[in-house]
């Protein structure tokens, strides 16, 4: 059985599955239950400065997007940072860490953008024995209106400044949590690096309104008939987060920087994908909030089985393995020609491929009177839409055309050599092949 033990910034945990800073990690009671269930670590829900704690709304905090059978695909929230006294949280953190020394304990922080505020809280966090801190520069709702959370994360200069203060006033690893509510994720990542951050974690939640009540005309979740944008998370955000992670993993100035991956991780497979794109571990929230802490057991068994199958003995074996395969569009091989193929034995004759292709694509699927669907190679551009809409997995596949054969769509011989847009004759900026 593969060894799931991970070492992230020198912080050891029995597996790469941490609970993200969020409602599930707000109290000792929850965190003890999480550790008993098997979670490798937690990022304690964000602490604020000493003094009267923040207050939360007293109506609904969450809104949801559903798939079939009310399967929760996306969740949004307008909950703020912890609304419990700082001292209470610090005492609980110290107690839990002492009882679970083998688990990672990270403390999430969000205090005003003033050095004194950070200098005040960091020594107290240090005293708890926690393994590191995570700077919450991401929450898009509520706190951002007060100049914290995403309001900091959207200004790279602030990120660098605050990170530097933390590195100067705290001895253990500093992780900077990034907001996705920006146009280029590489900028805040570089700022964190420049400030001395040990790692970045991403993504925080995405600005969102889950729905509008068409009777009351109130956005959801509705507080007395009004709504505010909240932070979106869950399986629906995973593709956005994966892309952002990959951008940091492959950018010349940030590549190699440790990343803790966050965003819609629901199964072991999601976690493995994040790790393959360069994450040293992953953080989970929505899956736990949807199914309870026990989900980690499937994540552990699934990842372990897959690693055994692939011959990986340690999680670090495959960190970033997919990164070299993330490239720019201009470098994609234009001589790679595929055609859709429909497995007639697997086909259930629903005709969705036909409707999709005929109505919205390239009229490259024929339909006979007895509902046999076949690909017309002379029209098929290999767009993959038929594969995507087919309800039967592997019924429609994309098959590569062998070099030397003629693509009936273009009438051209499929070339064996790699060729991309940069050298394509239609590209006004094409450079001659060397």
């Amino acid at each position: 059985m593969a060894d799931l033990t991970t070492d992230f910034l020198g912080i050891k945990s029995p597996n790469p599955f941490w609970l993200a800073s969020a409602p599930p990690t707000d109290k000792e009671y929850n965190v003890r239950r999480a550790f008993e269930a098997g979670w490798g670590g937690v990022v304690w829900k964000t602490l604020g400065s000493e003094g009267p704690p923040v207050v939360n709304v007293n109506g609904p905090r969450y809104g949801a997007i559903y798939g079939a059978d009310r399967r929760l695909l996306g969740l949004n929230n307008i909950e703020l940072i912890t609304d419990r006294p700082l001292e209470t949280n610090l005492e609980e953190i110290a107690r839990v860490k002492a009882d679970y020394p083998d688990r990672a304990m990270i403390v999430s922080l969000m205090v005003p953008c003033e050095e004194e505020a950070w200098k005040a809280i960091l020594p107290r966090v240090e005293e708890t024995g926690a393994d590191g801190i995570e700077l919450n520069f991401g929450c898009p709702h509520g706190m951002s209106e007060r100049g914290m959370g995403a309001a900091v994360g959207q200004v790279p200069e602030y990120i660098e400044m605050v990170t530097r203060w933390c590195k100067e006033n705290y001895s253990k690893p500093v992780i900077v949590k990034l907001t996705p509510n920006i146009t280029d994720i590489r900028k805040p990542a570089m700022a964190a690096k420049n400030g001395g951050a040990d790692a970045v974690s991403l993504i925080n939640t995405i600005n969102s309104i889950t729905s509008v009540d068409l009777d009351t005309m109130s956005p959801e979740p509705s507080i007395d008939g009004k709504g505010s944008h909240g932070g979106y998370c869950g399986p629906a955000v995973k593709p956005i987060a994966l892309s952002m992670v990959s951008e940091i993993s492959r950018h010349v100035e940030t590549r190699g920087m440790p990343i803790s991956g966050i965003g819609g991780i629901t199964t072991w497979r999601d976690a493995a994908e994040y790790i393959s794109l360069g994450c040293g571990n992953v953080q989970v929230c929505t899956a736990a909030m949807t199914y309870g802490f026990k989900v980690v057991q499937e994540m552990i068994s699934g990842l372990s089985d897959w690693m055994d199958e692939k011959g990986h003995t340690n999680v670090s074996d495959f960190v970033g393995q997919a990164v070299p395969n993330v490239t720019d569009w201009q470098y994609l091989n234009l001589n790679y020609v595929t055609k859709a193929r429909i497995d007639q034995d697997a086909c259930i004759k629903c005709g969705r491929c036909y409707a999709a292709c005929e109505d919205t694509s390239h009229q490259a699927i024929s339909m006979s009177s007895d509902r046999v669907f076949e690909v017309i190679d002379a029209e098929c551009v290999a767009c993959n839409l038929c594969v995507d809409v087919c309800p039967v997995e592997n019924c429609i596949t994309m098959e590569e055309m062998a070099p030397g054969t003629v693509d009936p769509r273009t009438g051209k011989v499929v070339e064996e050599e790699y060729a991309n847009w940069t050298t394509h004759p239609n590209n006004p900026g094409a450079v001659a092949a060397e």
Partner: protein, 445 residues
């Protein structure tokens, strides 16, 4: 002393009222909203969907299921009812396992079709519970049409004609409208007076005058109807029952299955409805299954369906056969009745085994007897007392695809007309299509 299942002969109240009530409860409980949401999510919204092709009334099934899935069951109901005004009853009685659900691609994919019938019921029940009738009449055309027979074909025809602005007089021989929906069909498929409620709801369209207790051939004659209306539609069903042609057929206890089912449907209290201790049903269709299952549910000790050919030739669907056996009915095949024994009252049926050579059915000479206090004949119905002037095709009224008979102002549909599968849904389609043809003809002047 109260009767039991073992009480000899034919007796009422063989089992308690509670058990009978439970036995005759809805065969399939209606969907709750969440169940409907889950079931509708399974529909793939197929292109040119096979289920539509399989539906005799061409209901746009993927569309109505999507309308349920998006929280608009009333719109779903309208999609259904536009094609099939008796969509509520058809949702209950259609052999969906041989129609839409058999064609469902998920049946092919995983042997579990989308539950189209139950979803249709969910949509139509939702709309009808609101007392809403979603259609309105066109401006009056001043034309009148006589529709004879207020069964599925006649009701569908009358509604469509009324919607087009024609005035309809709807005649029926029985004291209640509904035809087989009201008098045929197993009770557990149409609970809570659904057939009667559906007729009342259908009549909300307006422009339909109902005249009950009017039998063609005695109270009505076709010539008069033709002279007093612009068109006539005949949806009179099949009033006669085929004879067994077995010795002793006239003995007490030998009855028509359709009469038994009608009595059962109209019974105020099922504990007062007598049933035999040992019941034998002769036949292999839906009527045989309905009579057999209901006999068992009333408390008969043994119930046997005896069919003269092999099981694969039974016209009752496999689903219906399984329903029967699950209720404790025995299905006996390749056995034909040769005599009913008993001293004035049936006590046994004598059968001969048969062999089907492909050229025809022959008796093997080997016989056996089954105890039978009550014998139901369910070997098909025949056209009863058809007026002169109509050409027949075989034993039914000859019609074109649009329902035209040999008389240019008379149309026919449902079980009395040729073609179709003697299903409620087929009758609805024929009544509807005849109405469209009548409308075209009347509109043309």
């Amino acid at each position: 002393m109260a009767n039991t299942q073992l009480t000899p002969g034919i007796a009422a109240g063989r089992i308690g009222a509670d058990e009978i009530a439970q036995n005759f409860d809805d065969l399939h409980a209606p969907f709750e909203p969440h169940e409907a949401a889950v079931a509708s999510d399974r529909c793939y919204f197929c292109y040119d969907a096979p289920c539509i092709t399989a539906c005799p009334t061409d209901i746009d099934i993927p569309l109505f299921i999507r309308q349920i899935q998006t929280g608009t069951p009333e719109a779903a109901a309208k999609t259904i009812l536009e094609q099939n005004i008796l969509g509520g009853m058809c949702a209950r009685v259609c052999p969906t396992e041989t129609l839409c659900e058999e064609a469902c691609v998920r049946e092919m994919a995983e042997g579990k079709p989308v539950e189209i019938g139950r979803l249709q019921r969910y949509a139509t029940d939702t709309l009808m519970a609101q007392g809403v009738h979603p259609f309105t009449r066109a401006a009056s055309t001043g034309k009148t049409v006589a529709v004879v027979g207020a069964g599925p074909a006649g009701l569908a025809c009358a509604h469509r004609l009324a919607m087009k602005g024609h005035d309809v007089v709807l005649y029926d021989a029985r004291p209640k409208a509904g035809g087989l929906n009201e008098f045929g069909i197993a009770a557990y498929k149409s609970t809570d007076e659904f057939a009667a409620r559906e007729v009342d709801w259908l009549l909300q369209i307006g422009g339909i005058e109902m005249k009950l207790g009017q039998r063609l051939g005695s109270d009505l004659d076709l010539a008069t109807l033709r002279s007093t209306h612009d068109a006539v539609f005949l949806g009179v069903g099949l009033g006669g029952v085929n004879a067994l042609r077995a010795k002793g057929e006239d003995k007490a206890g030998v009855e028509d299955a359709v009469s038994f089912i009608a009595d059962l449907r109209q019974a105020e209290d099922l504990t007062n409805l007598p049933v035999g201790r040992n019941v034998v049903v002769i036949g292999g269709g839906m009527t045989a299954v309905d009579a057999a299952v209901q006999s068992k549910l009333l408390g008969a000790e043994t119930v046997t369906i005896a069919y003269r050919r092999g099981q694969d030739r039974m016209s009752a669907s496999r689903y219906e056969q399984d329903l029967a056996t699950s209720k404790g009915v025995r299905i006996l095949t390749n056995a034909q009745p040769v005599a009913i024994h008993g001293n004035g009252t049936a006590t046994e049926v004598e059968f001969e085994y048969t062999a089907d050579s492909g050229q025809g059915l022959t008796g093997t000479g080997e016989t056996f007897r089954l105890p039978a206090d009550q014998v139901f004949k369910a070997i098909g119905q025949t056209l009863d007392g058809m007026p002169d002037g109509l050409t027949l095709s075989g034993s039914k009224i000859a019609v074109t695809a649009a329902g035209r008979t040999s008389l240019d102002d008379v149309w026919a549909g449902g079980d009395c007309a040729e073609g179709g599968d003697d299903l409620t849904v087929t009758a609805v389609a024929e009544g509807r299509d005849a109405a469209e043809d009548i409308h075209r003809k009347l509109s043309a002047g």
